[in-house]
């Protein structure tokens, strides 16, 4: 049974439709991503899942609970890391975890969480004196202090430097490995590709695709472009005649081959047979960015 089921969700703010028609399900133990540009309705969608907002239409079920009817029970079992939320400036890291632990029936051990998030040294540091990455890690720690079954993480690496981002990603994988289901909101392709088992691409309040990152990429266009400098002359038709090859072009001393499927293997086999070495070989493949363009007609950022 899915842990989260969202069916035909709809939410307006005044005249503006924030979420038009969003459906997806999240299975136990996976990292499910919600990917889309700013203003696509990602945050509104997860706020409905968290029970922070009440939608106009559609149904949401989380752990078999109705988020805006069984709110108290949901709060005990779902941890949330919110965008644009802060702690009191002078609150210390250890105090924050202790305080939040007191809200839960069966909290995680604050010391252990501090250790896991690399914040043990910062226990007595005030919130305002933490770096952006440390504040973000504290925010993740607070979302886990209730020992939740589901954690919703909204734009958790926005504004972090590359090293801090990679650290946070590793952390998230660790959390998933400890059995927590994760719903991850992001507008970063790199983040989605790296972390998510499956993801829903949202654009303009609608889901345009739900698949694994690899599935999304494959579904769009698997054309590959192979460029190389042959060590000896080779006739174009030897390559062009291959069924996987679509075009063969020459750019100065280089050959550019485009094709689909197992084109790379087909081309290198021919070259090997002719004892031609492919120098400066480069292969470009479609990635999630291309998939997003193909799905929505525009670039993500």
């Amino acid at each position: 049974m899915p842990i989260i089921e969202v069916h035909r969700l709809r939410k307006r703010y005044g005249d503006k439709v924030a979420v038009d028609d969003v459906s997806f399900t999240v299975e136990r133990g996976e990292i499910f991503g919600i990917l889309g540009p700013n203003g696509a309705g990602k945050t509104t969608t997860v706020e409905c899942v968290e029970g922070l907002r009440r939608p106009e239409g559609g149904t949401v079920s989380v752990l078999g609970l109705n988020p805006w009817r069984d709110t108290a029970e949901l709060r005990q079992r779902l941890g949330a890391q919110l965008q644009a939320s802060r702690l009191p400036e002078r609150l210390k890291v250890g105090e924050a975890l202790d305080l939040y632990a007191s809200f839960y029936r069966d909290p995680a051990d604050p010391e252990e969480l501090l250790e896991r998030l690399g914040l043990t040294e910062k226990r007595s540091t005030a919130f305002k004196n933490l770096s952006g990455g440390q504040q973000q890690r504290l925010s993740i720690a607070l979302s886990l202090i209730g020992d939740p079954e589901v954690a919703v993480l909204d734009e958790l690496t926005t504004g972090l430097d590359p090293q801090a981002r990679r650290d946070v990603w590793e952390l998230i994988e660790g959390i998933r490995d400890s059995g927590v289901t994760i719903l991850l909101v992001t507008h970063s392709m790199e983040e989605a590709e790296r972390l998510c088992d499956r993801l829903a691409v949202i654009d303009d309040g609608r889901v345009v695709a739900v698949d694994t990152p690899a599935g999304l990429v494959a579904g769009v266009d698997d054309e590959q472009r192979i460029r190389f400098r042959p060590s000896a002359p080779i006739e174009d038709h030897l390559l062009a005649d291959l069924p996987e090859v679509r075009t063969v072009e020459r750019q100065g001393g280089r050959i550019v081959v485009t094709g689909t499927g197992n084109v790379l293997h087909a081309v290198t086999s021919v070259l090997a047979r002719k004892q031609v070495i492919a120098g400066e070989l480069r292969v470009d493949q479609a990635n999630l960015d291309d998939a997003f363009v193909a799905l929505t007609g525009r670039k993500l950022d």
């Binding site: 922070l52 005990q76 644009a84 802060r86 702690l87 009191p88 305080l99 007191s102 809200f103 925010s139």
Partner: protein
């Protein structure tokens, strides 16, 4: 420890780490007391004040009322609304903490802090300026505690709704000054127009002030004053818990 206990302790620590607000406010009532205390006749019993001195009958209760009012109706809600503005409440809203928990802890810490400051003012007045001690100490304590509760609950209601710290400060001032005027603080209630005299005892600021005046003079608080303070405290607390917005 219970969530309320934890939260109260944490809020107390936060309060003590940045006590600038109550200390700034302390200046105004202290200045009032000292300036009037330096007038030679201010501390003489006078038939104008029913045998009490100007200081004990008007100025000291005035200093305490202004102090309570400013802390409760402007500074206290500004602090909570700033939590809202900065997303502190938003974070809390995603946890199992309830508005009631937050509001109760805030109320406990701030009322306690206000009572300490009142004690300080009254203590300085008596020890340094030689103001007579309240003639009815028990009645005076009841008036101060109940008055503080009613004023802080008004602050709580403002805090429950104001979207930003500035908005809370603005609403607070808009409530504070009329209550001051109608409460007989600027003009003693016996000099207010007859049709406004009821307001002096029915609105919590005036009720607090006038109850302190009578108990300082050795009398008892009037029932209407006690009723006003209790009703405002209860009503505003219930409304605040009901109408509270996290964001």
């Amino acid at each position: 420890m219970s969530a309320l206990g934890k939260m109260t302790i944490v809020e107390t620590k936060l309060f003590l780490r940045d006590p600038s607000a109550p200390i700034t406010v302390l200046g105004i009532p202290l200045a009032l007391l000292v300036v009037f205390g330096l007038i030679p006749s201010a501390n003489e019993p006078s038939p104008d004040f029913g045998g009490n001195s100007l200081l004990a009958n008007l100025i000291a209760p005035l200093a305490v009322a202004i102090l309570l009012g400013m802390l409760a109706v402007t500074i206290f809600p500004t602090a909570i609304a700033t939590y809202r503005e900065k997303g502190v409440l938003r974070r809390l809203s995603a946890s199992p903490a309830s508005p009631r928990l937050l509001l109760t802890a805030q109320l406990l810490v701030n009322v306690a802090a206000a009572l300490v400051v009142v004690l300080l003012i009254v203590g300085i007045g008596i020890a340094v300026l030689g103001v007579e001690a309240p003639g009815n100490p028990a009645g005076f304590v009841i008036s101060v505690v109940l008055g503080a509760a009613s004023l802080f609950c008004i602050g709580l209601l403002i805090a429950a709704l104001a979207p930003t710290g500035r908005a809370a400060g603005g609403i607070g001032s808009a409530v504070f000054f009329p209550m001051l005027a109608l409460g007989g603080v600027w003009v003693p209630k016996e000099h207010l127009p007859t049709f406004l005299q009821w307001a002096a005892d029915a609105l919590p600021m005036g009720a607090t002030y006038n109850a302190m005046r009578s108990t300082w003079a050795g009398g008892a608080p009037e029932p209407v004053q006690l009723l006003s303070m209790s009703v405002f405290a209860l009503l505003c607390a219930v409304l605040a818990a009901r109408l509270f917005r996290w964001v």
